[in-house]
Symmetry: C2
Subunit: 258 residues, 2 copies
């Protein structure tokens, strides 16, 4: 099977113009077929603040009300996505910017209201691997923002990590897929205070111990759960680290396999 | 040759949710291959105002400075484009939202500074008909916002009428293309005060008289010049009128041919 890389960049890279440019050069130079997924980081929060839209938090969780969804659609779907696409074109990468509504590529369900009404938040239901395959087979490089739709005309704010893993799972039907989560750390750390304490390899054998001794906790926990879910559903490997994991020079990152 | 319809909607349709929904139903029901081009109307101006960005006007012409371009990218490329795409998906039309940067589909030159520096405004240089053909041949329906790029990473605000005609011209190499300009009038009017005084047919023989007696003037003049330019470069026909020109019921519109 042909190889396909799905790369997710976090907010810290998007928020800093120099970091973004450096990352996009690495992404453009990456061989083979590839897909980029980006969140929006603090840019949407900043824009909401400028517009006088206050974030609603319930039990510490952010709620996507109508006004917030509009800001997210403007910032992630417009400002961030189109600028990334234009910059990639300048780097000779034939990028095409997408939300999950475009080409009906990612269909979601609005998260059901249980204890909390999260508002316009989507949980991924179906990734159309054939629609995405048409694009990458025509040498387009899809750039997804973290927005999906419900098929009834409603856009939905959707977790970018989940979009990444769900795309990877769907594309595993016809490609050997690898996920690269680029973030502010060098990888999964043994000691959160030592940025060089990278755990180089995690698999389903070593994972339970990392959980039980609390090395994997807090924000890292859902990320890892997400990774193993992807691996169990056909993804070949997951890499976590800073943006240089896209190069052959970096040997200090976390590789996760089954 | 297969037929391809390129439809442009103006700001008045986008600004009103009911009008937009009615239009999208007509667009979704239109047979054959089709492309939609939209401007953004007053929504960008309103958003700029909310953000405290004042429009710069020189000799009555709006200047696209950096802050204004960001607003345009958010509103046209994000909010308007992604909502249209999601609504079309709900109407079983497999829309894919694009700026000219996406798939390198529309390359522009930043308008040279002569008497006026228009800022980040692009004049269309090249439409990649093959990139667009890949998409429509795969049954995607492209939805273009009025943003292009210069190939060096810079997005550019670009006139939606020009984008429409330039796409039509480029696609004429492999399709019999027709342009539909949907706007607030029933067509080109003999008497601007009589909305029913539609001139049903204009061609290069009747056009000079309409110019010399001042029937075509002001805002209509560049639109018509644009139409004849498109027709001379391979476009089959241009239709102007309200959104019902997309139906067979409406017989009150302006058809323009060579």
């Amino acid at each position: 099977m042909e190889k396909l890389s799905i790369i997710k960049i976090g907010g810290n890279i998007i928020e800093d113009e120099t970091s973004l440019h450096e990352f996009l050069k690495l992404f453009a130079n990456l061989d083979g077929m590839k897909i980029l997924v980006h969140g929006g980081g603090k840019k949407a929060t900043q824009m909401a603040h400028k517009l006088g839209i206050e974030s609603t938090l319930i039990n510490g969780r952010r709620i996507t009300d109508k006004a917030t969804l509009e800001v997210i659609t403007m910032v992630y779907g417009g400002l961030v996505n189109k600028n990334i696409v234009a910059k990639l074109q300048a780097l000779q990468t034939n990028a095409i910017g997408l939300s999950g509504a475009d080409g009906n590529s990612i269909l979601s369900n609005k998260r059901p209201v249980k204890d909390i009404d999260y508002g316009f938040v989507g949980d991924v239901k179906k990734v159309d691997n054939q629609a995405i395959d048409v694009l990458i087979s025509a040498n387009f490089t899809p750039v997804f923002c973290a927005i999906t739709h419900d098929g009834n005309g409603q856009l939905l704010n959707t977790n970018a990590d989940t979009i990444t893993s769900q795309i990877a799972v769907a594309m595993s039907k016809s490609y050997e897929t690898s996920i690269y989560y680029c973030f502010e750390l060098n990888g999964v750390l043994k000691d959160i205070n030592d940025k060089n304490s990278v755990i180089k390899h995690i698999n389903s054998e070593s994972y339970p111990a990392l959980l039980s001794n609390g090395i994997i906790a807090d924000g890292m926990l859902p990320k890892l759960e997400n990774c193993f879910d992807a691996l169990k559903n056909g993804v070949h490997a997951v890499f976590m680290g800073n943006t240089t994991i896209l190069t052959k020079e970096n040997e200090n990152y976390t590789k996760i396999t089954l």
